[in-house]
Structures are given as structure tokens and as C-alpha cells.
């Protein structure tokens, strides 16, 4: 870990401004991912801006009828909130499928969205990794890729996004609210938050320098049956090989987002329209452009089979 300076921001505006004005600055909230990466020098911020005391830790009704989840609401608190459990059960279930109790107590809503891939080569600074060190190459492509992405990938990077929470939020059409250093705010549909790697895999999201996530807005509840199915090698404390966040309405239509297969939560509204035709039809469209490696090709079949089980459960 490299030495860094630290400040605790007292207002949202000051935090954004400080981040924009300091080279190498980063926000820190729960720190459950950032600190690990700093110890390994995968992340080397020169300055940390602690945003934990900005008061962004409330879950409030949104004017349009949904819920506004503060950026610093801890994963544990979000999963336990009665309104989340009742109206957005897929989100509560996704959260509880992630990490461990201790990590969820600490991890925040915004931090969870911005956590970085668990590709083992990204974590090992002796190995080439275009995401960590642009232009150094990708060791995962010809190496150990079982856990990594099959769709949305590029020749430069096949890293997968590790979040469970974000997959459920994608299915719920969540909107990310931010403040920019100049004080302006914007709303980013979660679909547009993360970027695909292309030839710049180190650029993972559309946030500008200093831009701070303040909340995630969940639109009005859509009803239906909420299912989060996480497939993994061990029963707990493991990242998803594949996960399915599904909201299925009584008429058989609904929404499906998939985790563990792409650099971001993977959802395709055209594929979703195939839901009444079953998992095979949905998967064929959803993963039509999949480019798996030999080691992770099983994920294509696994998505279809897991989705099939989810739809059967939804039919109940």
C-alpha cells in the first residue's frame, strides 16, 4: 500500500470538488474492496476522501412513487428494509446472496456498484492486465478464465462484474443519481453506468472525475414474482458463476438480468420479450454474441438451465 493523504468530507459538494481538484484522489466509503486493492497496489490513490459522514444513509420514498436509496446505505440495512423486502424482493435476495454478513455490514450501495472485477490476474501485479495496466495484455484470455465473462467482452479484457446487488438493480431499472464537481446533478440509468471494456477496459463507468454517486432510485414497484438465483461452487461466500435476477408477472412476461457473465449486469429487453417462450428462447437472444473461452463456455448452458429453473419457480 502506498502512502496517501486522507480527508473526511463534510458536504457532498466539498467531496466532489476535492476529488476533482486532487490528482489521484478517490472516494472511500465501506472500503471493503478498495482497501484490499490498495494493499496489493492494484489501486494506488494518493488521496482518500471519506464520504461516510455525508448523511447519504437513508432510504426515502421517491416523489415518483419508488424509493431513493442513499449511496451510503449499507448492504445489510438495505436488505433488511421492510419496503425493499416487500416491494423489491429480488434486490433483498441478491444482497443476501453476496459476500458475508461482516462485509455486508460495511459495504455501501454506491461502493457495491463500483466494486472492481475479481479476475485473479487483475489482482496479481506481476501479471499482465489491461484493466490494471493499460496495454500490458490480458493473461486471462489464455489462462484461468472459468469465473470470467462470456459476453460483452473484448480482445483486451474478459473481466466479469462481481456484484449481485447491481444485477437486481438492473432488473428493477434503477437510476443512479450523482453530483458533479460543479454542483450539477444528473440521473444515469443503471444500464448506462458501466461501460463495456472495448480497448479501454480500465475505464469501467461513465462517471466523470470527481462525480459522486449520491443515491440509487428504485422506480415504482412492478409487482410480480421476485427471484434471485445465484449459482456457485460453494453454498456461501463465493462469487456467482451465473446469477439470475428475475421479476416474472402472472402473464409470463417480466424482466431478467444476468450476473457473472459480463463486465456489467447483463440484460437485453429484446431477449426478455421471449420470456413467455421459455428459457431457451431468452438465452439464445441474450447470449447471442457470447464469446466464451474453453474454460467458461459452460456458462452459456448454465444461464439457460438456471433461467429455466427460475421460470419454473415463478410459475410455482
Amino acid at each position: 500500500m502506498r502512502a496517501f493523504s486522507y480527508e473526511r468530507a463534510s458536504t457532498i459538494e466539498a467531496a466532489a470538488k476535492a476529488a476533482a481538484g486532487t490528482d489521484g484522489a478517490k472516494f472511500i466509503a465501506g472500503g471493503t474492496n478498495l482497501l484490499d486493492l490498495m494493499k496489493l497496489e492494484v489501486e494506488t490513490p494518493t488521496h482518500l476522501i471519506d464520504v461516510n459522514r455525508l448523511g447519504l444513509d437513508r432510504i426515502e420514498p421517491a416523489p415518483e412513487g419508488g424509493l431513493r436509496v442513499g449511496a451510503l446505505v449499507r448492504n445489510t440495512d438495505l436488505a433488511a428494509d421492510e419496503r425493499i423486502r416487500r416491494d423489491y424482493a429480488v434486490l433483498a435476495r441478491a444482497l443476501l446472496a453476496g459476500a458475508s454478513g461482516q462485509l455486508r455490514n460495511r459495504a455501501t450501495t454506491a461502493g457495491n456498484l463500483l466494486q472492481r472485477t475479481r479476475c485473479p490476474y487483475f489482482y496479481d501485479t506481476n501479471q499482465p492486465c489491461n484493466k490494471r495496466q493499460p496495454g500490458s495484455g490480458c493473461a486471462a484470455l489464455g489462462g484461468f478464465s472459468r469465473q470470467l465473462a462470456v459476453v460483452g467482452v473484448s480482445d483486451a479484457c474478459i473481466a466479469s462484474h462481481p456484484s449481485d446487488m447491481a444485477v437486481a438493480m438492473r432488473a428493477l431499472d434503477a437510476v443512479v443519481e450523482t453530483v458533479r464537481p460543479d454542483g450539477t446533478t444528473r440521473s444515469i440509468p443503471i444500464a448506462d453506468l458501466h461501460r463495456l471494456p472495448g480497448d479501454t477496459p480500465h475505464v469501467e463507468h461513465v462517471l466523470e472525475r470527481g462525480e459522486l454517486i449520491t443515491a440509487v432510485v428504485l422506480p415504482k414497484p412492478v409487482g410480480g414474482k421476485h427471484i434471485y438465483r445465484k449459482v456457485r461452487d460453494r453454498a456461501s461466500y463465493a462469487f456467482a458463476l451465473v446469477s439470475i435476477a428475475a421479476v416474472v408477472l402472472p402473464n409470463g412476461t417480466g424482466r431478467v438480468a444476468v450476473g457473472g457473465v459480463a463486465p456489467k449486469p447483463w440484460r437485453d429487453e429484446a431477449a426478455e420479450r421471449e420470456l413467455p417462450n421459455g428459457a431457451k428462447a431468452v438465452t439464445a437472444k441474450l447470449l447471442a454474441n457470447a464469446r466464451p473461452t474453453e474454460q467458461n463456455a459452460f456458462k452459456v448452458a448454465l444461464v439457460e438451465r438456471a433461467l429455466s429453473a427460475v421460470l419454473a419457480e415463478a410459475r410455482g
Binding site: 496479481d124 501479471q127 484461468f144 421459455g278 431457451k280 448454465l302
Partner: protein, 733 residues
Amino acid sequence: MRFDTPATTNPIDQGKVVGQRIHRIDGPLKTTGRAVYAYEWHDPNTRYAYGYVVGSAIAKGRIGSMDVSAAKQAPGVIAVVTSDGIGELKKGKYNTAKLFGGTEIQHYHQAIAVVVAETFEEARAAAALVKVDYAEQKGVFDLAAAKDTAVTPKEGEPDSAAGDFDAAFETAAVKFDQSYTTPDQSHAMMEPHASIAAWNGDDLTVWTSSQMIDWWRTDLATTLGIDKEKVHIMSPFIGGGFGCKLFLRADAVLAALAAREAKRPVKVALPRPFLMNNTTHRPATIQRIRIGAERNGRITAIAHESWSGDLPGGGPEVAVQQTRLLYAGANRMTATRLATLDLPEGNAMRAPGEAPGMMALEIAIDEVAERLGLDPVEFRIVNDTQVDPENRERPFSHRNLVGCLRTGAERFGWQDRNKQPGTRREGNWLVGMGVASAFRNNLVLPSGARVRLDREGIVTVETDMTDIGTGSYTIIAQTAAEMLGVPVDKVAVSLGDSRFPVSSGSGGQFGGNCSTAGVYAACVKLREAVAQKLGFNSSDELTFAEGEVGAGDRRVPLAQAASDESLVVEDRIEFGDLDKTHQQSTFGAHFVEVGVDVATGETRIRRMLAVCGAGRILNPITARSQVIGAMTMGVGGALSEELVVDKERGFFVNHDLAAYEVPVHADIPHQEVIFLDETDPMSSPMKAKGIAELGLCGVAAAVANGIYNATGIRVREYPITLDKLINELPEVS
């Protein structure tokens, strides 16, 4: 005390303390955080410095040059010790890979420097500033590709044979020939390797985490080129080892060299990724098993061949070991072959040999039973043997494999197993049961102890035996208590200090039996000293009970023997040839019920049972704890544990506990352990044998057989992950 005739009745047979369910005497220390582990030693009057290791970024080659100027100038840095700067060091007797010194790189994350600073954080930050130029060489990293280059190892017994396997196999009514693979595995114990070294003139004290105090002491002296008498090792508490702390490791060498350079005590812990690539691992194997049998189920021919790899000078994984002994069959052969690989050092991990060997053999047995149309429990029983099948003159000391299988089958409800694989469905789960024999040899090593009786009647035991979480403290206290007729709380036990008599140490499941036998020997001597002191005749039949020594009508408080000065005696147990004249092994049976998700292929354990026949159980609580831990490790081996080799770059990629998946609580819902009530008078005066590794051997195969029973899919490559199942699972759409 020399143990060369079978044990007769002795004080241990009273069973007043030994064999009782006594909670760990060190439990309160551990649960309250007061047990001091290696890295935690702290003398408030000492200014410790902190060392951080730099590991090689390449798998094979040489260090061209190292630039430590930036590191040396970094804040807080006291010293930088480099491998090329220190030059070649002599290698310890038990090490294959060199731990430090010189410019040759043998494997990834080999230690090439240690940076010493005022704080851990400063040392870590400065370590990242060390610049190294390498001359990289091409290495061999793929066992399957190197298999044909494997040679017959020079040491051990790489080949064994009896009868004429080829002829018998050729003419067998049923012939079976299959290959299996087991992956590299990591010990993944909780406490990482850690040492604190402090020099006082030429005298070196190292607080470390070691299973084998005397091996470490000897090899550390050898590596540093100093007199063994100058080295003092302390390792009273150990947070798990599983074989990874049997042999001297880099943390101790680096701490010693760093402390000499820094002229201060230095703490060095190996970071978690170094566990996988800097230390040792269980080597991967490729195994071929051939079995010929008669239609009635009798095995007539059995062959087991195994291939593994290691660095030059290393040894093979002896995965065929159990096949020489477990089942009858007049015609048999085994062969062990070794390829040269440039991966980190392969070496002992819990039940080396049998653990991966049983993973393969016990699937093969399941497969042959099915071919014969026999129940796999019955097939094993039909082929039981009470003698060494390679040398029928040589009996087993005590063997009740049949009892383990029959007891287990009854208790587990084996008769309810679906006879037709893939036919039991509960909701989304395909449910199946699997069985495997458990087998692990019983090893005996000499073990010494010192015992002291003081005027308060307190008995103190000192031995360099270690407690790696196994319960050594407790069973040693029980042994002394039984021998001297005092309650356990009148016994103090001090372990893990090289100033104490050399013990067996902890490994190969020999520590429990051997170290208590050494304590027994010392206690026999103490009883004699007590008797003499109290004026009993040597012909008297003495009893030591309830704090008193008695003969006839005379009873004297034990403490009286030490009323003027403490009585101190020392002895050690040495074993004759009873393990040559008799085959000493431990036996068991594992039963597992699994569910396999019909859609995703995820396997989840539903319940497990182990039945063990392993001689006297010294403490049912700590023994059970050993077995359930081993069963858990077996589940990991069956379902998730694999050190993944990057065959291009030559290292284990998943080098942390997030990516190397050992089971978590949610994976282990229900375990039961039954110990058969038995003793083995050939093993030691304790009549006990090993238990800690037996609990692992066979578990993974029982899981694999359960998966087959659940799904009808036979996977022969561990770990059995869902990607190896889903293409053959039923359609779900």
C-alpha cells in the same frame, strides 16, 4: 522406554481420564484470545521491526539484477536483505525448493528479498519499490503434458508386485481399467506462516508456527550455517498446519537474516498469496487403476499406477500406498512415477499418499461393484483381508474395516439408497448416497518428554510436541493424569519449545499416539522415582489414584514425594519392529448423502457419517473434532478445491481464500462420527493409533460416488464442479 512387544495391561487401561470426554485444557485461552500465536509475541520493552517479503515475479530463471535503492530510501526502512546479496545458503534436509539465497529462481513467489522497516505498512510499501531484472527461462508446468517424461523415483518403493498381475487381469471374468485425476491442493490453514527472530549475540530465538520443532531447529541452523545449539524455537500455539508447517519455511529464514541485519527483533509473516506459491502444496496426480474380478466379486488382480510432478530433487505423491494394503487379491502391482515440474514445491498435505490415492481407488471400487451387480459395501467386505496382501505372512495388527462398513451402513440407512442411479428426486434435487472405505497407515516415531512433580502435587509435562489445533495439550494432560492418579487440572502441559525433549511432532497422524506414548514412558519413570522416594518396595503393586500412592494398606499423598524437592525425570518412547512384523493401519467408512441441483449441477452435501476403527480413542471430543474437520476438507477436495495452474506462466493463479474455495459452514450441514470401541496393543502402550488423517481418506470418493448415485454421471476428474455435470444432466426446459 523401548516398545518392542505388544502392550499388556497398564494404567492407561483404567480409562479414568484417558478416553474421557474432556474439553480442551487450552480452550479458554483460545476462546478468550489469550493464546499467543507466532506473530503476536510482544515484549513491551522490545522495539520490533517488521519484515515484508518480496517474491519472484517469474516461475523459472535467474535474477539478473536487483535495484533496492528506492526501497532503502523509503520512509521507515531499516534494511533490505536480498537473495543475490546474501549469496547461496545451504538448504535444509527437509526442503526441496531453496527458501532464500542466490540468484536462481525455481518457482513463482520464491522469496528474493525482505524489506525491514519500523512498521508493517512501511515495510510493505517499500517492498513494492524493489526492482528486479530477470533472465526468464521456459519451464514445465503441465503434469499431463509431462507425464511421459516421468521417471521411477530413486527413493522409497516406487514399484511393488505380488503374483502375476498381467496374467490374472488378462483372464479375469470382469476387467476394469480407468484413469482419474486429482488437482494440486493448498493446505489453506487459517494462520499464515509467521516468525519473529531475535538475536542475542550468536544465540537466535525464533517464535514461529511449526509442526516439527526439531526439524525446524536443525534446518534453520543448517540454512544459516550456525550451530543447532544456538537456535531456540518457540511454537506453543499453531493456527493449523495440515503439513504446510512440517518443514522450515521462508518466514523463519527471512526473519533471522533480517534481524541480524537490522540488529533488532524482526517479525515476518508470509502474505496469503505466498501460502499457495511460496510454500508447499499437495501435488496433482494422474492415476490409472485396473481391477480384475471373478463374477462372485472376488478381486483376482489389482493395479494402481500414479504420476505426479515436483521440482528437481523432490519426491512423488505416493497415491498408490493404500492399494498395496486395502483389498485382497493374489495378483497385484503398483507403480509411482515422478515428472519434473517447475511449479512450487509439492510436499506433504494431510494424509499424503492416501488422501489423493483414495480419491481415485474408492471411485474405482464403486465402479467395479456396479459392473458386478454388487452392493458397494458388500463388494468391499468380500475383499477384506486380515493380512498384508503382498506378504501374507504379515498380519494387520488390528483391522476392523468390515465393522466400520457394517456399522456405518446400518446407522446411515444405506439400505434406502436408490439402487438405480438418477432415480431419486426431491424437488429440484437429485439425491444420492455414496460410500467409501477409509484407510490411512499408522506411523510411529520416537517421542520424548520430561515430567516434574512438585510439592503442591502438580505434574508438569514438557515436550517439544506441538498442538496444531488437534488437542495435544489435552491428551497429554490426560495421559499424565491417568498415569499419576491425579485430576487433569493438576497437570500443566508446556509444548512447542526446543528446550524441551524432542517429540514426534505433529504430522502423518502420528503425533497423538506417539507423543502420549512418550509422556507415558516418562510417567512410568516418574512413578518409579516416586515409589523410591516414598520408600515403597520395588516388588510392591503400586496404585496411583486420587492423588495418592498406595500399596497394600499403605497410602501416601503423591505430593509428599516432592516435599523437599521437585522430582524431575525424562524419557522417550522408541519403537521396535512391531510395525514391520505387523501392518499397522487405521480403518473407517465414509457415508455421504448429496443433492445435485437438476438444473444447475450444484452439488450440496446433505449429511455425512464416518465410522472409524483407529485403536483407543484418547479423547472422544478432540478426536471427533479432528474427524469432522477432515471430513470437511474431504468435501472441499471433492467439490471445489483446486490450485489452478497457469500453464503458460507457471504459477497457481487462485492464490487467495476468495478464489481457492474451501468449504464454508453452509456447505456442511450435518456430520456424525462413530468410533468403534477397540484398542491396538501393537501400536504403543497407549494402544491408540492416528485419527486425524483417516477422517479425510475416502471422503471425496464417497461424495463422488454419491453424485453418481444421484445423477448417473461418473466424474473422474476432481474437483467435481457443476461444469463437469451440466451437459449430462436431464433436460430442464
